[in-house]
């Protein structure tokens, strides 16, 4: 055990000492800080869109729209004075980036409900707000036309309904929007895919390095090949945990620092939109970690075998492709997994050990997986880890002392049988 520990330690220390480790460790938080600053910058004045409102009629809808938009934080509207060539001159202003766009309303607005918005960039947020405002203006005009008191209309329109979204799973209903669920599923599959792939490949290149630098013979004279492989896998795994820890902690710190950052940028902290992190229940976290660990062990063993059977980087890159594709299947099918989490396809993916490390946590987080299914999935994964590690260790054992051409499949089978 002391020897395996020495291998783990070396793997960890040497990897953390490299420039690349720190480049990627720092790049993560920098990216995250960038996102926060961008969000804040948007909420400060610069983010408001300046539009012109053109009224082609005489009923005064243009004025009403400008008034209604007066309270908006994200849109600043001005009435354009009517003239024969107003549309052309406004188009020029848009092109010159003096205004973001212009809205055209006419007298028929309250009868056929039609208006037009022209802009250089059609942002979803602006369109939604314009639509909401126009609806209210039309509603008010039509009610007034039928003799309803404008004060009554204002009173009626003052109330907005907020629809609270909650997701029910395994007997508990918690606040979470549809968007958040999707983001969560996406994050889970992306994180798992990246982590398993990156650190699996690390194990591979480390094995290859020892083979290429011919140090492996000395190591094998004092360690069993299996011990060496185990040390490598856990060493590279520890590095990935460390990296995640750096990212996680810095993200947490940055989120809590949003207030001061906003003040530094001259924004009102209370005005900043909340970054709603999806609520991560403890059980989801546990499933995520279990699948990460399982997937990592499974794929690292395969990558270690790939490294052992190759003689150089080029060969290894080719030989790793089948393994990478295997992992990619579940990553690419995550939309199917979130849209139809109970389909036969989704259920199959979460039982097959090579796809379950990603499919299972995505389905579990979506609430569409029972405890029974989870046990089967994790059990299969555990069995596969034992089996694959056994096979990989045998390939590893023979492969690390081999040089020359890459073995054929037939030779590999013989390695496994004779090792």
């Amino acid at each position: 055990m002391h020897k395996v520990w020495a291998v783990i330690r070396r793997e960890f220390v040497e990897r953390v000492r490299t420039k690349w480790f720190w480049v990627s460790a720092i790049l993560g938080p920098v990216l995250f800080a960038g996102i926060i600053v961008f969000q804040i910058a948007q909420s400060v004045g610069g983010g408001a869109r300046h539009i012109a409102v053109v009224d082609t009629g005489k009923a005064g809808y243009g004025r009403r729209v400008v008034e209604a938009l007066g309270a908006s934080k994200s849109i600043r509207a001005d009435a354009a004075s009517p003239s024969p060539h107003v549309l052309d001159s406004l188009t020029e202003l848009v092109e010159a980036k003096r205004i973001n766009g212009f809205l055209i309303v006419g007298d028929s607005l309250s009868s056929d409900g039609k208006a037009e918005y022209r802009a250089s960039n059609l942002s979803l947020q602006t369109i939604e707000e314009l639509q909401r405002t126009l609806n209210r203006v039309v509603e008010k005009a039509r009610l007034e036309g039928k003799g309803v008191n404008p004060t009554v209309v204002d009173w009626a329109q003052a109330l907005r309904v907020t629809l609270e979204q909650k997701k029910c799973q395994r007997g508990a209903c918690l606040a979470e929007s549809a968007g958040q669920s999707f983001i969560m599923a996406y994050l889970i599959s992306l994180l798992l895919f990246m982590a398993i792939l990156l650190y699996g490949v690390n194990v591979m290149s480390s094995v290859l390095e020892e083979k290429r630098d011919r140090i492996v013979e000395v190591l094998i004279s004092s360690l069993r090949p299996f011990q060496l492989m185990l040390g490598k896998v856990f060493g590279a795994g520890a590095v990935s945990f460390f990296q995640f820890l750096i990212w996680g902690v810095s993200a947490r710190v940055l989120i809590s620092l949003r207030g001061p950052i906003a003040r530094a940028l001259g924004a009102d902290p209370s005005q900043i939109q909340d970054v709603r992190l999806p609520h991560i229940p403890f059980d989801t976290f546990v499933v995520f970690m279990a699948c990460f660990l399982g997937g990592f062990l499974l794929y690292s063993a395969m990558f270690a075998a790939v490294g052992a059977m190759s003689s150089n980087e080029q060969e290894a890159r080719q030989a790793q492709q089948p393994v990478t594709y295997l992992l990619m299947i579940s990553y690419l099918s995550f939309i199917g997994l979130t849209n139809e989490p109970t389909s036969t396809f989704a259920k199959t993916l979460s039982v097959v050990p090579f796809t379950s490390p990603i499919a299972t946590p995505v389905r579990w987080a979506g609430g569409s997986m029972g405890v029974g299914e989870l046990i089967v999935s994790l059990g299969m994964l555990a069995l596969a880890i034992v089996g694959v590690t056994w096979v990989a260790a045998r390939i590893y054992r023979v492969g690390i002392l081999m040089t020359g051409k890459r073995p054929t499949l037939k030779e590999l089978v013989r390695w496994v049988r004779t090792a």
Binding site: K3, A6, V216, V218, S221, K405
Partner: protein, 324 residues
């Protein structure tokens, strides 16, 4: 106490080729033992079986009177493989500490001993440099340290002195001799006879995987050598070539130009040759009745075998094919 290394009728086959053929040898404690043979004779394969890297197809290897294998006893054995290798991106000191740890030495002790050894072999200033910054010779010294660092009872050195300049070779030779002086055992392979002659207490010559001879250096010289004469000329050789060609006087000759090593024919007298040489007008600077050099014994024994065995060394792939 039994011998630290006993190889008992061991055979290892690789595809269509027997690398080691029912080889037996025994390395007594506290000596320097040489495993000699031409390229491709099976030296490295034998050593790898001793080190538990290959498993023999037949026969057993016993280390310290135990069949458990080299890995089990790795704390008591130091190993310098033929294929040298270190982590090029690691610092010298870190590599040494790590390798000692894999032999079971505690970190702190490993560090202290590594510093001591680096100092002893003149590498102290390089301890914090990357291995890749070192010259080939320095790297070999570092690797040599890694074999000795955990103070083993037995060191197995595969071609330890190849590719070293004379100064560094002497440093390592001295270290090996000192190691034996402390009662430890050395097993090393070489195809350079001068090293073997300087160092070995006992030796074993193999070719094509088979043992040709083993024993103490003195015994081998006694049994293999007939009567030998070493001659050196000082200018004129007179009719020496004619005399060397006389089969009644000379059985075998190794002619090096200004020097020659003769093996006397049965019944021939050395004095007769001396007389004949002098009267033929040859000027001699040296005339010595000697036991044969190891080089001569080796060439006589291995002779034609060496050429054919070295011409077709099996590749790893071929070896592997043979495993199945």
């Amino acid at each position: 106490m039994s011998d630290p290394v006993v190889v008992d009728r061991v055979t290892k086959r690789f595809a269509g080729h027997t690398a080691v053929d029912t080889l037996s040898l025994s390395v007594p404690s506290g000596i320097i033992y040489g495993l000699l043979g031409p390229n491709g004779a099976g030296k490295t394969t034998t050593i790898r079986m001793i080190m538990d890297i290959y498993e023999p197809d037949e026969g057993v290897v016993r280390l310290f009177n135990d069949v458990a294998g080299g890995r089990t006893h790795s704390a008591r054995i130091g190993y310098l493989p033929e294929e040298r290798g270190l982590y090029p991106k690691m610092r010298v000191l870190d590599v040494l500490v790590f390798l000692a740890e894999t032999k079971g030495v505690v970190r702190r002790a490993a560090r202290a001993r590594a510093l001591e050894w680096l100092d002893r072999l003149g590498l102290a200033d390089w301890r914090l440099r990357k291995v890749s910054d070192l010259s080939k010779g320095m790297q070999q010294k570092v690797q040599f340290i890694s074999a000795m660092l955990h103070d083993p009872e037995l060191v197995v050195l595969d071609e330890p002195f190849s590719a070293l300049d004379p100064v560094n070779r002497q440093v390592l030779l001295d270290t090996v001799i000192d190691f034996r002086r402390r009662g430890k055992t050395v097993l090393f392979s070489t195809h350079i006879m001068e090293h073997a002659e300087q160092l070995c207490d006992r030796l074993c010559i193999i070719a094509r995987g088979k043992k040709l001879i083993d024993g103490t250096l003195a015994d081998i010289k006694r049994t293999r050598g007939g009567k030998h004469i070493v001659i050196a000329f000082d200018g004129s050789q007179g009719a020496a070539q004619q005399i060397f060609g006389d089969r009644r006087l000379v059985a075998k000759i190794h002619d090096f130009g200004q020097q020659a090593e003769l093996e006397l024919a049965d019944g021939a007298d050395a004095q007769e040759i001396l007389r004949a040489l002098v009267s033929s007008g040859a000027r001699l600077s040296h005339f010595e009745l000697a036991s044969p050099s190891l080089h001569k014994i080796f060439v006589d024994l291995v002779g034609p075998d060496a050429a054919t065995a070295a011409a077709n060394p099996p590749t790893d792939r071929e070896r592997e094919r043979a495993r199945a």
